[in-house]
Symmetry: C2
Subunit: 203 residues, 2 copies
């Protein structure tokens, strides 16, 4: 009995290559390839998939939300997250969303099929390096608004821009930015954005 696998990744090249690689395994059958997160839950139900392999960074519905949707729609289907960037914060969020595994894209290719089998068996698969980082980095210290403001600041606009985007007064924006800088340890707005992003605190 083969493992029925659904793959979702926004980069078509990666998605296709991944499907080809895993399709070679005799015990794995790739039943669907999606380019974004929106249709994943439906596909899992419709095709009675056993495992869903999801990229964290995707247009439309992101991987974390898609994972939660899959778990809701089909609790018997395991979720394996695959990501380009090993942001510590992502790991915890993904696990809370019901993922069974979390690997980064520079893990050796042969380990991937094994990871799929493990999560299918109900085991958890977590990149050990990432797990360690996740423990040291801990939870996000940012409040929702602080994260919102940092996100709005991430494309480099002025305080006025951010205030407009977040529907806040300029003074308030500066306060939140100041708080975010203190909590992240950044000395400038841009540094705070970078640090928060690297930790996966901005979603």
């Amino acid at each position: 009995m083969t493992i029925r696998l659904v793959i979702a990744d926004d980069q078509a090249l990666v998605r296709g290559a991944l499907a080809a690689l895993l399709g070679l395994e005799p015990d794995i059958e790739v039943v669907a390839e999606l380019g974004d997160g929106t249709g994943v839950a439906d596909a899992v139900v419709e095709l009675a998939a056993d495992v869903a392999m999801l990229d964290v960074e995707m247009p439309g519905l992101d991987g974390i939300s898609a994972a939660a949707a899959v778990r809701r729609a089909s609790p018997s289907c395991r979720v394996l997250m695959v990501t380009t960037f090993g942001r510590p914060g992502y790991l915890k969020r993904a696990m809370q969303a019901g993922a069974s595994g979390f690997v980064v894209k520079d893990t050796p290719a042969r380990q991937l099929a094994e990871a799929v089998r493990r999560v299918h068996r109900g085991l958890r698969v977590v990149d050990p390096v990432l797990a360690a980082e996740s423990l040291t980095s801990g939870d996000s210290p940012l409040t929702e608004r602080e994260a919102d403001v940092l996100r709005a600041a991430s494309d480099g606009g002025t305080v006025a821009d951010i205030a407009k985007a977040a529907m806040l007064s300029e003074g308030t924006v500066r306060n939140y930015l100041s708080a975010a800088m203190a909590k992240t340890g950044g000395r400038t707005r841009a540094e705070a954005v970078r640090l928060a992003e690297d930790n996966g605190w901005l979603l």
Copy 2:
């Protein structure tokens, strides 16, 4: 007679998957997989490769430099660049470095093998969307130092940090930043960094 292909990409998962996908083609033989750009030229010579598939973003030697190295070491070997981000500036730089093709990672998987065959035949393969963007975006307006300073600014440090990193006076740094902001159209330092990065003007 098969096409002897060398693949270099820093993400092991992608690299392996790509190799698996292309290895399925009867007329393509993957003779080497590398994780960075440093050994590519040597590998191409040693293995008498016909085509080198290189990622632009790699640790150590970047893809553009690796492409130039390959062309120098073995002019008969064609280079196909593959990139995650469709930065217009990369395209021109890659072509100037001697690449024959340039595709982004979200092109359909089946077109990839065809792209390899095309560059092997001596044809050029360029993502049409990217080609158009490249024309509108044009050359980098930044001088070398301006780009240096922007790069140093890209991790969010203060003017003092940048000055130290670039061995310049703080006033000079501010002048270069000001010039870079004017040329990129950014209204803040961070925005200028983002715009320059998006255009592929920072390497």
